[in-house]
Symmetry: C2
Subunit: 298 residues, 2 copies
């Protein structure tokens, strides 16, 4: 296989590449990932390539954003597969540092995000966004991108990072890309690979609950409690699904709302078997929706 | 008065200056201060000018590093005086942003330093180093210096910042400059201006206690408890002084030591009247000491 991109594993190597690219006046894009690349990631890569002169994809499974009872150890890691996936896209660099390189012995300084990190994922995964904010800041400092590309699937994460950028005066622009979905609406995620065939079938229930919210809102329902009730009904009807949360919030500070308006966000987190999945959608946003009733099988 | 330097108050203006300086390949030095400039600050400025092509002095009284019961409101602020003090030195920029500009409404992301921030000042001033680490990171992101100059007087602060730089992968070199002292040994500090004449006289007791430690160590005493006892005696003999702490620690993680070796650090914090002062010294370090018994009056 001809390799079109550089694989960089050292921080010094990454910094040297970035310094050269930036000093030549080029615009550098970063797509931070935890590897296990899928079409969702590739849509971020595509957007980065449209907008930037050089693109770095980072693949780093960040221990700091997993708690001890989570799936850090078994999170999928396959650098050769990621290299093969990415190679045809001719990004400039796949940056894949080791955990020891990223967190040197004695490392103890962390970024604490504020109230936007508290509800929803923050409540279910204590310390998660502290780990996310810290590693994203570290990646920004190592890669020094002009623009960073994140997926809307991790909606709360994008708010945490936007606050990080503003509050700490970083010179990075955040671009949030639409959620890439499977034909039945399931949001693409590295964790989907964990699902058994029957769990995979059941997993579309997250999207179906969001679709129901959109449907109700489209038909004129604005009472949040009424929409949430209907979303829960759909999730409860799937015996393999256990709800972590279903929420309707305003899109900047994630405050729960009583009345839904265009731009309100519906979010859902549920465990399908042992696999925790999340999804969300802006209500009343034109386009971008897959009708699960017209979709094919996964 | 002919003004030899730019006064910049906006973040955008500061970033534009830095970008220009750096893009021309110049080495940029930052001297972060809270204003109320004294000879200690000027020694940092001198060092920065020796080593850099351009020098920025920031003057910002950072609300985030004061707790509610501390002296934020009355901390000395006098921009015209600072401008006059600095002007003859022909630094390139005095950067003096407002608190509203530095902490935009809704700002909620903070840097949490680790164990090195816990004892001593961290124990006496909860949240202090969180505020310090956050504002220093913000200043680094706004000014983008190659080198930053801090004084050894705030010894624990320099360790917090060194960890910040390493743990968050910042491209800044930290230079720690020796403590500038008054003729009687009192470490120069903006807070010295608060002292009444009799308090000012008493304030040299901090240095005298450090001197005693150095004297004992020089005479062969290595038992930390014995040296601490003698330091406390000196401080206790000064009726205007109330000890916050007296400590002998190793110089990287501030762990208390039982036996003193060359390079161990003696630290003292005490309130003279209502004014809290700190000081420290490396034991067994050649030179740099003022013998308080041979010094003149303040």
């Amino acid at each position: 296989m001809t390799c079109f991109m550089d694989l960089i594993t050292s921080l010094a190597g990454m910094k040297a590449f970035s310094r050269r690219v930036r000093s030549e006046g080029n615009k550098l894009g970063l797509v931070p990932t935890m590897g296990a690349l899928h079409k969702g990631h590739l849509s971020l890569v595509g957007r980065a390539q449209e907008e930037c002169d050089a693109v770095v994809v980072s693949a780093f499974v960040n221990p700091a954003q997993f708690s001890l009872d989570e799936d850090f150890a078994r999170y999928p890691r396959d650098l050769p597969a990621d290299t093969a996936t990415l190679n045809p896209f001719r990004v400039d660099v796949l940056f894949s540092p080791s955990a020891v390189e990223m967190y040197r012995q004695g490392s103890e300084t962390f970024v604490e995000p504020g109230s936007v990190a508290t509800p929803l994922e923050g409540a279910c995964r204590p310390g998660h966004f502290r780990g996310v904010a810290t590693v994203v800041l570290k990646l920004f400092n190592i890669v020094v991108p002009n623009v960073a590309y994140f997926g809307q699937k991790d909606f709360q994460q994008t708010l945490v990072i936007q606050r990080l950028i503003e509050d700490l005066n970083l010179d990075v622009r955040l671009v949030v890309c639409p959620i890439a979905r499977e034909p039945d609406g399931l949001a693409r995620s590295s964790r989907n690979a964990y699902l058994s065939p029957s769990e995979r079938q059941a997993a579309s229930v997250l999207y179906r609950s969001l679709w129901r919210a959109e449907e109700l809102f489209g038909a004129g329902e604005t009472k949040a409690e009424r929409i949430l009730e209907e979303m829960r009904k759909i999730l409860d009807a799937e015996p393999r699904a256990n709800i972590d949360y279903v929420a309707l919030v305003e899109p900047t500070r994630l405050q729960p709302i009583a009345l839904v308006t265009p731009g309100s966000v519906a979010l859902v987190a549920a465990r399908i078997g042992g696999i925790r999945l999340i999804d969300n959608t802006f209500l009343g946003s034109p386009g971008g929706h897959v009708d699960p009733r017209r979709a094919g099988s996964p």
